[in-house]
Amino acid sequence: MRLTAKILKKPITSALIAIVCGFLVAAVVLAAAGYNPWQAFGALFSGMFARPKYISNVLIKAAPIILTGLSVAFAYKTSLFNIGAEGQYIVSAIVVTLLGVRLNLPAPLLIPVLLAAGMLAGGIWGGLVGLLKAKYGIHEVITSIMLNWIAFYLSNYIVNLPAFHQPDSTGTYPIRESGYIMLLPNWKRSPQGMAALSRIPWLREVMMRTDVNFGILIAVYMAVLVGFVLYRTAKGFELRAVGFNRDAAQFAGIDVGRSLLESMLISGALSGLAGCVAIMGAAPHNISTLAAFENNGFNGLSVAFIAGGSPVGCIFAGLLFGGFLYGGQTVQADVGAPSEIINIMMGTIVFFMALSKLISTLADRLAKGSALHAE
């Protein structure tokens, strides 16, 4: 019993239980709507794994939301709720598109410039929230929701500027190819490349049929880096101290206001990086008119939550989420069930993660119960 209780208290356990619950609830909903849940889940998984290009697309889809997940998780360690990841992502996408369209630079220059500019834009968007919080005590949720909408309409305004708008489309011109971060974009279309790839069919499929790019590598690298910063550096120590107990941190001489600002700057920069990866990494390499939020930032909230705030956990949660998002399209195509079923599943998973406190309480009960029996 004690062992059971111990296993139940591991964060990964609550994540797994939440995921199982997500499937159960989705199954009930599907069945109630007259679809066969097994068939739907089968379609979901085959949509994720059946072909090499699916897997590649899952990774492409996952990279930005791993990054926005990291953004939310980082802020959360300083006890800030960064619901503004969406806006930070959008402003970064705007800036990357503008510069990517206009700057005529070779790839070794353009790529770093765009990455830096996107992170800076996101960082400023997040930092603004931190500044308002530190200086005037305005709650970060309010300011970041407002900034989300400002970013949203700013984006639509920019898209429709004659200088950037691509005629007969809903978007801007794409950025220059020297700003792409796809894997060997020129080589794979060269005769040698084609020849080499034709010998390895799966690789050929991945390379030719998807925008396979460095995004996932950047996301994994950032997850490890964020983990290192939080747990192994003096700055991370400081930010976490502020997150756990602002009063004690202040008493110990930590500048709490500055910590809040820094935390939001970094968090915003991570969401900004997500925007970079999305624009530079995959077609259509531009921004287009938004009818509603694309949810790359809001999905980061769910990712961070499912990961229990752990940076490395964000990789797995992001992959799961990315997989569901991509595979969900197959559910709609093959089974006819609306892809919104994926949102129901994700919502359920997040809901049960929130209940994970309950699981650990139950585990305590269990341990206590067995202790009483042992007497």
Binding site: R232, T233, F237, R240, A252, I254, D364
Partner: protein, 513 residues
């Protein structure tokens, strides 16, 4: 002991478990009618838990309760009050802008046949009780205008008005001045003489000697003994309470103060509501001196400390350490100028409870070598340092380095803070209520450390609400009232009575020494 109607309350074999903690382990209690019965124990010994069970706030996991020899079941405070058992908690539950009478009758309003409040009759009823037991209370004063001691009497009145026979008082003197404490003991005696039974929860030995007819000692949830406090000395009571002999007197040699290292000149500070809290306060502390500030809570102690540590703005005046002004800078600057503070609220200001003990030891030092290099924490150095502090300051369990500070007992949390602050090698050590909520053993330890720092040539500022503590530990004693220092005394010239009067805002009887 037999179950008999000579006893107002008898409890048998009471068991209560919280999680994995056995808070009460088969505790018996026999309270004779018409007596004052003290319940003595350290913090967390289980005395409040036992009384909360009697008052119905908790349900026991096992055991029986008898009232006047009859078995009773108490499922909630309403059951308890119906059985004539009342309780006055440490934190009062009064309506601030109601009068004393209104508060007393609240929930038991007297109405005439039309259902209209009959204040005249109610006031008469309350007055009768007041006269019978010699309370000195203005029945028409509003709660917000009367002192804490008075408010406590209103709480007692409330219980009596509900026809309570057995009155439980939970640490009633924690908030009182010495004079108010004496008054309360007088009232308790009157009540007992009038046939009421009083159960007094306390950890203050002196009060028990002064007031009680019997004293039951509880240690770690177990019944240790019931003694007659009139025939047993304080050392014995203390030893029974903690389980080993304790020295109640602070041992120290006369102070040998050297040059003044810390100086406050005409400091004024406003509180969070913008009202003046510290007014024109000046003081000087020397190396090798413990400067104690006595005073009732809310007389500017918090604001004074916050101004020194730069958490609050000094409106005017200067604060100097080693000749350098530090007022209105940053907490970090204060620490850099060798001022270390043991805060009054150790869980809120002293520790990051979710950090490990190890991380808490470097809370003020993580920025620089040897604990971080080029911004990266040096885990080996940190672990070695924490290990050393935990060993030197005897923080228990000795294996706590990687456990969250939350898991430590209050006394050990305090030891961890003291270890951290003293190892800063400050020129001025500020200790605010350093023994609040600690048991006798831990208190002895804290006092020893303060004296040790003094003997090492540091200046020590002790701010405490416990007058006994200030009197026994400090070399110089100042009384803080209404944000000003009303008098300063050398330890050998300070007597409890004069200081008690000043704490209540009385006229200055002594001249600055």
């Amino acid at each position: 002991m037999q179950i008999s109607d000579k006893y107002a309350v008898q409890m048998r074999g009471i068991v209560k478990t919280f999680g994995s903690l056995r808070a009460l382990d088969h505790v018996d209690l026999d309270v004779r009618k018409g007596t004052i019965h003290a319940l003595l124990g350290e913090n967390g010994a289980g005395k409040s838990t036992l009384m909360n069970i009697l008052y119905g706030l908790y349900q026991a996991d096992g055991g029986e309760i008898y009232r006047n020899g009859k078995r009773v079941r108490i499922k909630g405070p309403n059951d308890a009050i119906r059985l004539g058992i009342g309780m006055v908690h440490q934190h009062f539950m009064l309506v601030e802008n109601f009068t004393v009478t209104e508060n007393v009758i609240l929930g038991r309003e007297v109405t005439n046949s039309l259902g209209v409040l009959d204040m005249k009759r109610a006031r008469e009823d309350v007055r009768r009780i007041v006269e019978k037991y010699g309370f000195q209370v203005d029945l028409d004063a509003k709660i917000e205008d009367i002192s804490v001691g008075m408010q406590q009497r209103v709480e007692i009145l409330k219980a009596l008005y509900r026809g309570v026979d057995v009155l439980i008082l939970d640490e009633p003197t924690a908030v009182l001045t010495p004079q108010e404490t004496n008054d309360l003991i007088g009232i308790m005696r009157n009540l007992a003489a009038g046939g009421k039974t009083i159960i007094l929860i306390t950890h203050k030995l002196k009060e028990i000697k002064q007031s009680s007819d019997a004293c039951t000692i509880i240690r770690r949830g177990k019944l240790i003994d019931t003694v007659n406090p009139q025939t047993v000395d304080e050392e014995t009571l203390a030893a029974k309470m903690v389980g080993h002999p304790v020295r109640l007197v602070v041992e120290k040699t006369p102070a040998q103060p050297k040059d003044a290292v810390f100086e406050i000149d005409r400091l004024s500070v406003r509180d969070k509501r913008g009202l003046p809290a510290v007014k024109d306060l000046s003081l000087k502390i020397h190396r090798g001196e413990i400067f104690g500030i006595a005073g009732v809570d809310g007389n500017g102690q918090n604001e004074l400390v916050e101004a020194i540590t730069c958490l609050a703005r000094a409106e005017s005046g200067t604060i100097k350490i080693n000749g350098e002004e530090i007022q209105n800078t940053t907490p970090q600057n204060v620490i850099r100028h060798k001022i270390s503070t043991i805060p009054s609220d150790r869980q809120r200001h002293g520790l990051v409870l979710d950090f490990s003990c190890e991380q808490n030891t470097i809370l003020e030092k993580y920025r620089s070598g040897p604990f971080s290099r080029r911004g990266v924490l040096q885990n080996g150095k940190i672990a070695a340092y924490a290990e050393k502090l935990i060993r030197e300051y005897d923080v228990r369990p000795s294996t706590c380095a990687l456990q969250p500070a939350r898991s430590l007992s209050g006394g050990n949390q305090q030891k961890l803070i003291i270890a951290r602050e003293i190892s800063n090698e400050p020129d001025l050590l500020i200790a605010v209520q350093p023994t609040r909520g600690l048991d006798v053993g831990a208190i002895e330890y804290v006092h020893k450390m303060l004296v040790h720092e003094r003997d090492a040539g540091k200046a020590v500022l002790l701010i405490s609400l416990e007058l006994d503590e200030v009197l026994s530990v400090s070399d110089t004693i100042a009384v803080l009232y209404g944000g000003s220092i009303l008098g300063t005394f050398r330890q050998d010239q300070a007597d409890e009575k004069t200081i008690g009067l000043l704490m209540a805002g009385g006229k200055r009887h002594a001249v600055n020494s």
